[in-house]
């Protein structure tokens, strides 16, 4: 809400020494947050005066332009009383017009200093100003096409132009929260200013209004719940084409609204002043009585913005004999709008149900100044005063005659009584506030307070429909005392449990990967159908079972992802695209794995959900496991003066998963697999026991191409929750032998298809308890072992816990190992 200070001060008698800063800070501390102050005059130093154009000689120039050589009466402002000679390039004025003159010595916004200077063969002693030159909106004062031409009666030559233009009148913009709809008006802001400084306040809505009678325009309200109050006033003989007075146009502009025509401007002005949205109808275009009712199915209306809209049966309508003429509280219709030929006006000043207006506004995507106020809550006792104020302005400014008919249908609801213990504000705020102070502050904000023993019965003022609960009153009291008075006290906290085991383990996973040279990323979880194709997922892949957003930011990516790989690959491509060839990324985030049957109930809020209700909520929220994914391309070990580097690849992706598993104390098993998006020959399933928790390996070449990542990019993705579930919470302390180690190497030749893991497992089993460790140190394929065969060289270390092993013992263990490997995998010792 924007409002000029002068307008606010019209209703509150602030002490003279209250600065703008003090006022805006006080308002902020009362809950009306300062958004900004616009005060154009800050950039202007005078003399800026009114002038009357005495003569205007058009002088065509060689460059094709025509300038005007003018003499302008600026009164005594130039010190001589002689007319001021000024060259002007604008054409929208004639002799006798009242204009704004900037005399030599003035400085305009942007540090633009005005002096007498020779131009176009004249000495131009000053400037006739346009709105934009003064830092005002282009179209202020009808100045869109040239200089400002003021109404003839705006002042006399030589008068200071500042007050006439509203310069020097700061416009403050306040952020109004949904609970303070009353402050979407000068009435409300002035009230808060008065509260803030204990200053006298004159309520602009406090006016004597004529009593209702039957002579007014007939109104029928079919839906009193949607429209508790409807006031209709009528004026005749209104001069719709009369100009909007300058002061009104200026205030509307300052408040951020555009002056349109006198009739509309008056209704807007009253809305800004009082907070009551009004609507004016051309009475001669109305057909019979006004009727307020809900729409019927399929009914249509063309709203003021020219849109043809199909109505919903929930929409509350203003209708006449012709059909809908407005959506209540939201926007009027085209057929009955005020026009330049309107002479008889029906002014609608009604109170509409907030929810009804909110829904219509949302349904038709029609946010308006009116609906903004209604949906937050307008003072239901305002309609008569507001209508009366509009009539007054139409009479005063539009030469209208106040019609005797006054229609009032319905009445404002009873004000609510909220009872609170007198000590509640103190108990909740931690401030010391006694009952008398509570009563005084609540009274100051407009409540009627009656003490009843330890309790206070509080009637909230009509403009505060938001005040419904005891705690609402607590806030009112505390904001008057001042939020800055609240002391700082640490609460007593019982001992907690700290991070949960799973949370600590997740931290360990991140530290492990970062320590191993992987960099964490965070990606958006939004993907498109296209991503599944790029990943090469088969049609029945469970990763294609997804939840979609109804209103995605990007229509290409409406899906909540089921895998972290698309995000990771896009980040990888971005890094490579930015000339970082060696990239190793990881991400751990939730993915969404719905069943397709997610339907959440909307429960009541009057009590805690029952166990069954809570179960339905839990069941409706889709499964969202935390996944861990890595992606790597380029060098994993760098080349340098020490030698060659090492390209990252499938082994690094699998290695990352193994590193994490080791850090968590989980035994994972890796087996060959072939699933998208991996290279079918370089894809590993990672298992805990029989459960596959993810995959790792090299990407399929087509996936690399589809995501624009380098060939041989390797990725892994596992269900991190599944890993964490199995994590070893307590590491058993190791025992180890200090007897000498016996080392044995064996080279086994097996079929190329035999997995190394199988050979190792067999060796381990065969070697028995004396085996301390086993390590594959070489893999050889080539002519020496024959086609389709490979040689695996293992270093075995044997050690006993209680003695030095004899050569015979070691040899026996070695032989046993080889024997089992031979039996299980067909391994043959290499000669």
């Amino acid at each position: 809400m924007k409002a000029p200070l002068s307008w606010i001060r019209e209703h509150v008698d602030l002490p003279a020494d209250v600065t703008l800063d003090a006022l805006t800070w006080r308002l902020t501390m009362l809950g009306l947050k300062l958004e900004g102050v616009a005060s154009p005059a800050d950039d202007i130093t005078g003399p800026l005066v009114l002038g009357r154009v005495l003569t205007r000689e058009p002088e065509p120039q060689k460059n094709g332009k025509t300038i005007s050589w003018c003499t302008v009466d600026v009164g005594e402002a130039n010190g001589t009383g002689d007319p001021q000679g000024i060259v002007c390039g604008a054409h929208n004025f004639v002799e006798g017009d009242l204009v704004v003159v900037c005399l030599p010595g003035a400085v305009l916004p942007g540090g633009f200093a005005i002096s007498a200077r020779k131009t176009y063969g004249h000495v131009s002693a000053g400037m006739i100003c346009s709105a934009s030159e003064l830092g005002l909106p282009d179209d202020a004062f009808g100045g869109a096409d040239g200089i400002i031409v003021l109404p003839a009666d705006a002042g006399a030559p030589g008068d200071d132009a500042f007050p006439v233009l509203g310069l020097g009148d700061a416009v403050i913009e306040l952020e109004i929260n949904p609970d303070r709809a009353y402050a979407l008006s000068v009435r409300g802001i002035a009230r808060e200013a008065a509260l803030g400084f204990g200053a006298p306040y004159a309520d602009p809505a406090a006016r004597r209004v004529p009593a209702p009678n039957d002579a007014g325009h007939p109104v029928v309200v079919d839906d009193p719940a949607g429209c508790p109050v409807f006031v209709a006033r009528t004026v005749t003989g209104f001069r719709a084409d009369a100009p909007t007075p300058d002061w009104m146009a200026r205030r509307l502009t300052q408040a951020g609204m555009r002056p349109i025509s006198l009739g509309v401007d008056i209704t807007n002005y009253v809305m800004l002043e009082l907070g009551q949205p009004l609507h004016g109808y051309d009475r001669d275009k109305l057909t019979g009585a006004i009727r307020v009712r809900r729409a019927t199915a399929g009914e249509q209306i063309t709203t003021l913005d020219g849109q043809r809209r199909t109505l919903d049966v929930e929409d509350l309508l203003i209708t006449d004999g012709s059909g809908p003429i407005g959506i209540a509280g939201t926007m009027g219709g085209e057929t009955t709008e005020l026009s330049g030929t309107t002479t008889n006006v029906v002014i609608e000043s009604a109170h509409f149900d907030a929810v009804t207006v909110f829904r219509s506004g949302r349904r038709h995507k029609l946010p308006s100044e009116a609906s903004k106020r209604f949906e937050r809550g307008v003072d239901p006792e305002l309609p008569q005063a507001a209508a009366d104020r509009a009539v007054e302005l139409m009479v005063e400014l539009g030469g209208a005659t106040d019609d005797a008919g006054v229609t009032v249908v319905g009445q404002a609801p009873q004000r609510r009584v909220v009872t609170i213990p007198a000590d509640l504000p103190a108990r909740i705020s931690g401030l010391e506030i006694d009952a008398a102070t509570v009563t005084a502050h609540l009274t100051a904000v407009g409540c009627d307070v009656t003490a009843d023993g330890e309790r206070l019965a509080v009637v909230a003022p009509s403009w505060r429909p938001d005040v419904t609960d005891p705690y609402d009153l607590v806030e009112e009291v505390v904001r008057v005392v001042g939020y800055d008075q609240v002391p700082s006290v640490l609460p007593t906290t019982p001992p907690g449990h700290g991070w949960t085991p799973v949370q600590r383990l997740r931290r360990r996973v991140g530290l492990t990967l970062a320590g191993a040279g992987w960099t964490e990323t965070i990606s958006y979880p939004f993907v498109g159908e296209d991503d599944w194709d790029r990943l090469g997922l088969p049609a029945d892949d469970p990763r294609r079972t997804t939840l979609r957003m109804a209103n995605p930011l990007n229509n290409e990516e409406p899906i909540l992802t089921t895998t972290l790989l698309p995000g990771l690959l896009k980040a990888l491509a971005r890094n490579v695209g930015r000339a970082n060839a060696d990239v190793a990324l990881f991400e751990h985030s939730l993915v969404c794995r719905p069943t397709g049957n997610e339907r959440a109930p909307i429960l009541g809020v009057e009590t805690r959900p029952s166990a069954e209700e809570w179960a339905t909520i839990e069941k409706a929220v889709p499964s969202q496991p935390m996944h861990l994914a890595v992606a790597v391309t380029g060098q994993r070990a760098r080349a340098g003066w020490w030698g060659a580097g090492r390209e990252g690849g499938w082994a690094d992706a699998i290695g990352a998963v193994r590193d994490v598993a080791r850090a968590l104390g989980v035994e994972v098993e890796v087996r060959a697999d072939a699933v998208a998006p991996w290279h079918p020959g370089r894809c590993a399933a990672v298992r805990i026991g029989e459960r596959v928790i993810g995959h790792a390996g090299e990407l399929h070449p087509s996936v690399c191409r589809a995501y624009g990542v380098p060939a041989r990019t390797a990725v892994a993705e596992v269900d991190l929750d599944a890993l964490l579930e199995q994590a070893q919470q307590v590491v058993p302390g190791p025992t180890f032998s200090s007897y000498p180690v016996a080392k044995e190497d064996v080279a086994l030749v097996v079929d190329a298809a035999v997995p190394a893991a199988a050979v190792e497992a067999a060796l381990r089993e065969g070697a028995g308890e004396l085996l301390e460790s086993i390590r594959l140190f070489d893999v050889y394929t080539g002519p020496q072992v024959g086609e389709g065969r490979k040689s695996l060289a293992y270093a075995l270390r044997f050690r006993a816990p209680d003695r030095t092993l004899t050569e015979a013992e070691t040899a026996a263990a070695r032989e046993a190992a080889v024997a089992v490997a031979a039996e299980r995998t067909g391994a043959v010792q290499r000669a």
Partner: protein
């Protein structure tokens, strides 16, 4: 070599003559002294101390002497050999020192060579900063709570006193999930974790909930449809706004330095009443709005930084979550982690947080 001198006859053995032994000894000493290096000395050792060295050979001749002459000869040879051994050991020590000194010179490397053999990794600063914030509360005895991203509409809104027609719903531009009757949203704030916590445990409750949240904001330097919040909730007997203030004062000091004070301004949130916006004194200019005469860039000269919203838990929320507001009261707060990260570390563009460029995360290392 002479044969054993078994029968006595005072035979002269030339090599055992005093002059000869002295000559051999001197020759050995000269050779030792002249050894240039350890390698050379090794040869000298062979030549003058080895089995076939003149002194060794002479030593064997002692047996050829008549018994009464052996003692003398033995002494002579023994002395000479002792002398040579000692000289050799001395020379050896000297040459070893020389050798090592030379080696140390020769082995000099360019220690300024790069040593970045292994690639560097990092955690994302949002992750580590979230932990750091939560750590402040864990240290006070709070628990860390979490919740899902796809959330029931009822938990995201209704339970938090934001019914279907609450104007505040439009303040949080929500991603709705299909189908329309699923009543599921991407959580617009971490507040549903509050509701989940209250529904699943008994007071006293002290939880901190960092997490990812979603709103339909177009991406720019300060907006993102995905961002992070940290939410705090306390429900206990006798909890007041003063406790909220004390807690947040502690948090800002823990994260931004001693002496950083806070202030409350009235605000509005459906789930708290009274509600406040919290500002903290700018930790860069300490409230002056200026740094070295220039406008403080962190707070844009305001002296204060807006941190987020907070307030006393609205009793309606307690009721919906099954907590008796006549017995308990609570406070809650919620701040933007990304925003805090941005001003704490001078990050200029929020897009960097989500683009995955490793140059963003790497300077932050593994902890903030």
């Amino acid at each position: 070599m002479s044969g054993p001198n078994s029968e006595y006859d005072p035979v002269e053995v030339t090599s055992l003559k005093s002059e000869e032994v002295t000559a051999m000894r001197d020759a050995a000493l000269a050779a030792i002294a002249g050894a240039r290096d350890l390698e050379h000395l090794k040869q000298v050792r062979l030549d003058h101390v080895g089995d076939r060295s003149p002194l060794a050979l002479a030593n064997r001749e002692i047996g050829a002497l008549p018994p009464q002459a052996r003692k003398d000869a033995g002494q002579r040879i023994g002395q000479a050999r002792g002398r040579v051994s000692q000289a050799l050991a001395e020379r050896q020590a000297v040459l070893e020192v020389e050798h090592e000194e030379r080696m140390l010179v020769e082995e000099t490397v360019d220690v300024t060579l790069p040593t970045d053999r292994r690639p560097v990794g990092a955690r994302h600063p949002i992750t580590s900063f979230s932990e750091r914030i939560a750590d402040v509360f864990v240290a006070m005895g709070w628990d860390v709570a979490e919740g899902p991203w796809v959330e029931a509409e009822w938990l995201n809104f209704d339970a938090l006193n934001m019914g279907a027609d609450h104007p505040a719903r439009t303040m949080q531009d929500t991603f709705w999930l299909e189908p329309a009757d699923a009543a599921l949203v991407l959580r617009t704030h971490t507040s549903p974790v509050q509701a989940r916590t209250m529904l699943t445990r008994e007071p006293p409750i002290h939880v901190i909930c960092p997490g990812r949240v979603f709103r339909t904001d177009e991406i720019d330097a300060t907006h993102s449809p995905v961002f992070h919040q940290v939410e705090g909730l306390v429900v206990d007997r006798g909890i007041t706004m003063a406790h909220l203030k004390g807690t947040l004062d502690h948090m800002t000091q823990a994260l931004f330095g001693e002496g950083i004070s806070t202030r409350f301004r009235p605000s509005y949130f459906p789930f708290t009443e009274p509600s406040a916006e919290m500002d903290m004194v700018c930790f860069v200019c300490r409230g002056s709005g200026r740094v070295d005469e220039a406008l403080c860039r962190t707070c844009r000269g305001e002296g204060w930084i807006e941190l987020g919203g907070c307030g006393v838990v609205n009793p309606r929320v307690l009721i919906a979550c099954g907590i008796d507001p006549e017995v308990y009261s609570g406070f809650a707060f919620g701040f933007g982690i990304d925003r805090m990260l941005m001003f704490r570390h001078g990050v200029a563009d929020l897009r960097d947080v989500f683009e995955g460029d490793v140059r963003f995360a790497q300077p932050f290392g593994v902890e903030i």
